[in-house]
């Protein structure tokens, strides 16, 4: 067991699988000599050489497009996009092809690739480095969209994503990259993609979140317990496509109340989908409207003011108390 940050845990997952499976390649901007701008690809060039850890020119659509073609020739490409805000330069390759080839060719050609990118705000970066576009990708059928919340599940989910026979968008919460360490077992682990977990058990209300906001939501849950006698259950969805509706509805049918928490904008966000799933399966259990504590429907403010935008434990507590009072 080692105490690792998420960056180290992701690096471990890549290293393990590149050792175990020669089909696994890593490509992207600055993934080689520079070891990735966040150092997630540390040591890969040295260990596996320039044919398996490949620096590309500055062209996102080419990175994703190359990943698609490499898939067809039998590789398992892991494409790194340097920031979520620049994944849109490759959006047409993802939408037109990566997600469609299995269906288009009825399985003759598939894209068992992973598109990794740093995700979300909170690291005092300039514009376009703090986006949270999970809903944009979750809406695209044919993709799976994974968002780990900590070192251990990040390492396990990245392994699952690379081994998954279909394209996976793998969002790495920047704010969680180095924020804390976790015990990570020596043996490789996988986790099922599309299943969430109960991060904290509770009876009174269900707080549904993912990514970097799992921790502030858990803090909120503690504060709710300590100061307001509210026993909140916290769900860490881990994947927003597929979305674990069963887990959500089981919990809401127990608690009767729910608050959704994410940092991406509210309008047409994943939170809306979660509410819709609850209404479809658990309407009669609902004792209060489902509140959405989310980023606002604006551009995220430049970093001097970004924490006003990203949901905080305080905002979760406030919304939860309103939900309890309803």
């Amino acid at each position: 067991m080692a105490q690792l940050t998420m960056v180290k845990a992701l690096n471990l997952a890549l290293t393990e699988l590149m050792h175990a499976d020669s089909r696994v390649l890593v490509l992207g901007q600055d993934v080689g000599q520079d070891e990735g701008v966040f150092r997630v690809t540390e040591g890969l060039l040295q260990t596996f050489g320039p044919d398996r850890c490949i620096d590309t020119p500055l062209a996102e659509a080419a990175i994703v497009g190359a990943g698609i073609g490499l898939s067809f020739t039998g590789y398992l490409p892991v494409c790194e996009l340097q920031f979520d805000g620049f994944s849109f330069q490759a959006f047409h390759q993802t939408e037109n092809h990566a997600r469609r080839f299995r269906n288009r060719t009825r399985g003759r050609y598939t894209c068992p690739m992973v598109i990794r990118m740093p995700y979300g705000g909170g690291i005092r970066a300039i514009e376009h480095h703090s986006e949270a576009p999970e809903a944009t990708y979750a809406h695209l059928a044919g993709l799976k969209v994974v968002i780990p919340s900590g070192p251990r599940n990040a390492r396990a989910l990245l392994r699952s994503a690379i081994l998954d026979p279909d394209p996976v968008i793998f969002f790495e919460p920047k704010a969680a990259y180095r924020a804390f360490r976790e015990e990570v077992p020596d043996e490789p682990e996988t986790m099922p993609i599309g299943k969430g977990v109960v991060a904290r058990e509770g009876r009174d209300v269900t707080l549904i979140t993912y990514g970097a906001l799992v921790r502030p939501t858990l803090e909120a849950a503690e504060e709710l317990a300590d100061e307001h006698e509210v026993d909140a259950e916290v769900l860490d969805m881990l994947s927003v496509s597929p979305l674990d509706g069963e887990l959500i509805n089981a919990s809401v049918q127990k608690t009767g109340r729910a608050v959704v928490v994410h940092e991406s904008p509210r309008h047409c966000g994943v939170g809306a989908e979660i509410v819709a799933r609850i209404v479809e399966k658990s309407l009669l259990y609902l004792e209060a409207p489902v509140k959405r504590v989310t980023g606002f429907d604006t551009i995220i403010p430049y970093f001097a003011n970004e924490l006003t935008y990203i949901p905080s434990a305080g905002r979760v507590v406030q919304a939860t108390l309103e939900t309890m009072k309803f």
């Binding site: 020119p57 080419a62 994703v64 190359a66 698609i68 020739t73 590789y75 060719t105 009825r106 069963e246």
Partner: protein, 362 residues
């Protein structure tokens, strides 16, 4: 000297072998076995007849919108002929002749224009990609394919097509640039048919040739008469040989002309003159290649008649097969992921329940 002209080291040349008037450059004439010449002619003729048949089927409402490739048969056929079956063939959507040579069943091609995913069923023995609809987007995955081939030692190469219009897209640029940097076994064949729907070549880019765009990537560029199958074969053989020996990518501009409409939804009269079209008719690759075979005594009246009859029969049989095609209307759920997700299973059941209900209703 503080003001110097920059010189370009790469090869940048134009090439033709069999002139429209039949004049042949015997030094450049490629060696092609007689039997291959006959098979090539038969394939070119089949492509032309298939084109005519699909236009008819479309008018009769038996297929949907159709994009003819009349006049452009020589280039994809020449490309496909020079590739090995295990080389990769990445079409856009006017490479019918090349696909036929690669062994695509005619009824499969009809299924594509008939609105069925089954129209993308790639024959088992070749490394072909299906039709690519988003212009130039195929350049990127073709680049990725050739990257995979390089990693495996350049035993195979990848040929990809793009149109003159497609060269304006970012994907064309990014793919060729990366192919250059990584020295990939990629052959980029631009079918310059002078039009992108209603946009003439001259309004697509200011460069005098498409071939010279190779200069931007430090790779070789060749402009070839795309209606001259012999020239296409020569250019491809050189590019393929280079790619197999680790020499990297080549950009080939095949100068051709779309003799027919862009698609059956298009009316070329809106944007081009009949004069322009009739100027190009004498350069039609089919009669040109036909005369070449006749001069070689590989074709005669009788053989032509037999060919016509055979091809007609093939097409009739293909139409029969195409129209006999049956499918399960809810099958599309099964191909989104290796395994159905819970949501998709639910949605599939929802749809099946509804379809069952309306069936029982009537």
């Amino acid at each position: 000297m503080p003001r110097e002209t920059i010189s370009i080291p790469q090869k940048l040349e134009s090439l033709s072998v069999l002139a429209p008037d039949g004049k042949l450059d015997t030094d450049l004439e490629p060696h092609i076995p007689d039997d291959d010449l006959r098979r090539l002619y038969r394939c070119m003729l089949t492509a032309r007849r298939l084109d005519e048949r699909c236009l008819m089927l479309q008018r009769q409402g038996r297929i949907g919108t159709f994009g003819p490739s009349k006049g452009q048969e020589a280039t994809p056929l020449g490309v496909a002929y020079t590739l090995n079956p295990d080389d990769w063939h990445v079409p856009t959507f006017r490479e019918t002749a090349g696909q036929l040579w690669r062994g695509w069943p005619i009824d499969t091609m009809m299924l594509f224009w008939g609105g069925h995913e089954a129209g993308n069923a790639v024959p088992g023995n070749v490394n072909d990609l299906p039709t690519a609809v988003p212009i130039a987007s195929q350049c990127q995955y073709a680049m990725g394919i050739s990257w995979g081939l390089k990693l495996k030692g350049n035993q195979q190469v990848c040929a990809v097509y793009c149109g003159d219009g497609g060269t304006s897209e970012g994907d064309f640029h990014e793919a060729l640039n990366l192919a250059g940097v990584q020295n990939l076994p990629l052959i980029m064949v631009v079918q310059n048919n002078h039009w992108a729907i209603s946009i003439p070549r001259s309004a697509q880019t200011r460069s005098q040739t498409i071939a010279q765009k190779a200069v931007a990537y430090g790779i070789d560029g060749v402009q070839v008469d795309g209606n001259d199958i012999l020239a296409v074969i020569v250019a491809l053989r050189e590019a393929i040989e280079k790619a197999r020996t680790g020499g990297g990518p080549t950009l080939i501009e095949a100068v051709t002309y779309r003799l027919s409409m862009h698609t059956t939804a298009d009316d070329p009269k809106k944007y081009r003159t009949d004069e322009e079209v009739s100027e190009w008719e004498p350069r039609d690759p089919l009669p040109r290649f036909q005369r070449y075979l006749q001069r070689k005594k590989l074709l005669d009246e009788q053989l032509e008649q037999e060919l016509d009859a055979e091809i007609k029969a093939e097409l009739d049989e293909a139409v029969r097969k195409y129209e006999a095609y049956k499918f399960d209307p809810t099958d599309f759920f099964n191909h989104m992921y290796a395994e159905l997700t819970p949501e998709l299973r639910e949605q599939m059941q929802e749809l099946r329940a509804y379809l069952g209900q309306i069936q029982s209703a009537d």
